[in-house]
Amino acid sequence: MVNDAIARNKRKDVAFKSIGLFVIFFILILMYVPILVLIAYSFTNATNVGTWTGFSFDLYGALFQDEEIMTALGNTIILALSSSAISVVLGTCGAIGTFYASKKARASIEIVTQIPVVNAEIVIAMSLTVMFVFCGTYLFMGANIFSFWTLLIGHVILSLPFVYLSVKPKLLQMDPHIYEAALDLGCSQGKAIFKAVLPEIMPGVGSGALLAITLSLDDFIVTAFTRGAGLLSGEKTIDTLSTLVQAKIKKGPVPPEMRALTTLIFLFVFLIVVLITVYNNVKARRNRKKGRY
């Protein structure tokens, strides 16, 4: 009787699990179709996906020869790294400072932090651009101030609140006595923050930095609005991957060289995911071992 019930339950579980996995993988495959198609067609010369003109690695060679794409790629990377570095420093300092600030100051900073998070990207972009034009006309005697710096500000604004928001929970979880202990042991206030608080919130800072890089790499609208001339593009308007691809796909299919680039990016990301998984597994195993003693 009891055994029957257990067996029935087990069968139910197995059925649930297999249906569940089926649904998950079905959606996953659907989500990967466009990317996988691009990757598959990166090994052929055809201008359009859907026509296979024989296997070749030509696109990879063409990719590294294509100056436009390489410039855009360089711009994108420089922009992502610099904007996330600024966001991380500003956001981490901001989060620590706000954490120790008075209740009133904290409440108002939190509200202002929420604005760029919930705001539509196009409104952020539009408002920044209008302000830059306004500043250009009224403060800089009608000069055009759009350049790498305005673009950088746009990207920092985009990611700054997210850095703040990923550091904040770590501050809340932190043992509040650590900072005081450091002071008692003779640290100055600045040193106590550096040596005692910062290591505690490091995971939050790290995830904030990754988030900032992701947001910057993926951004189109803010880039299109706030960019000017400069960086690797020289005298021309700065092109990042997003704006370059957008300009191309407006006229025709995804450029063939981009398919090769997609493959490379995908491999890179895949490698990172594998490394993260392996690292987490190793860490979990080590923790389990530690727990035994």
Partner: protein, 279 residues
């Protein structure tokens, strides 16, 4: 002792709360002031020599133009439809991912996030190429193509907040409900669903507003046939119509404010945490 004393006597002494000053200044300069300038532009016109004067021109031109109102209605409709479809697909997926019987590790979740790391303009272009390969293109099915592109792009943003709420569900409460005789449908309706409501709200918020204001997806997939609110702001911007563009950004801001109030009603403070747990 003496050293500590001399430190407090210094004119400027470092306090940890001063660390938030650069952050706040940056936010005021590049968030508050730009929004303020938008408001100024939305309710002014400018003469030839650049002097500003107060006017309701942008206001009247927005509300008397049937095309603009039409665009607003269409955008709201597309936004809502996209939110609903994403939730309908994303909710079961998140539920299954968070269920330890189905998914024991985080690799599957990472697989859902992975496409987000490939440039989204590139992904949109790829989607369009694949769809037109299958015979669905902006020429014959602009709405279908746009909706597919929207759902494809925003699905990960729906799954993540839902997933992070679902793994925090109070399992013992669910078990208690079934022990007390509720069937699995009732457990879901009266227990799982209310508990995951904050996740649903924050997922909708992450989909609805970005859909309204998206530019690339609708422009690429409908081949310019569908104009959403984001497209028209972009258009006004590229034609240097500051006042009208600003007014539309202002309308957008009101919508953002409404959605902010709605989400605040549902949960307090947790939301930001959930957004921060992308990694």
């Amino acid at each position: 002792m003496a050293r500590a004393y001399s430190k407090t006597k210094r004119f400027f002494s470092f306090k940890r709360k001063y660390l938030c000053i650069p952050y706040s200044v940056f936010l005021i300069l590049f968030v508050i002031i730009p929004i303020f300038i938008i408001l100024v532009y939305a309710f002014t016109g400018s003469t030839e020599d650049g002097a500003l004067y107060f006017s309701f021109d942008a206001f009247t031109s927005f509300f008397t133009s049937p095309t603009k109102i039409n665009i607003l209605v269409v955008s709201l409709f597309v936004g809502m439809l996209n939110t609903i479809i994403c939730l309908l697909i994303g909710y079961p997926v998140a539920y299954l991912l968070a269920n330890s019987k189905v998914n024991k590790n985080k690799i599957l979740v990472l697989l859902f996030i992975m496409p987000m790391w490939i440039n989204f303009v590139l992904r949109t272009g790829a989607t369009r190429d694949v769809l037109s390969w299958m015979g669905i293109n902006g020429g014959n099915h602009p709405y279908l193509a746009t909706m597919i592109g929207m759902v494809y792009n925003y699905l990960p943003f729906t799954i993540l907040p839902l997933y992070t709420t679902m793994i925090k569900l109070d399992k013992s409460q669910l078990e208690a409900a079934s022990d007390l005789g509720a069937n699995s449908f009732n457990v879901f309706l009266h227990n799982t669903l209310p508990q995951s409501l904050p996740g649903i709200v924050s997922a909708s918020e992450m989909v609805f507003m970005p859909t309204l204001s998206s530019y690339v997806i609708s422009d690429t997939l409908s081949e310019g046939k569908i104009t959403l609110f984001g497209n028209i702001i972009y258009l006004n911007f590229s034609q240097s119509q500051w006042n009208e563009g600003s007014f539309m950004a202002f309308v957008m801001l009101i919508l953002v404010g409404i959605s902010m109030l709605v989400s605040r009603h549902f949960d307090r403070g947790e939301q930001s945490e959930r957004r921060g747990t992308l990694w």
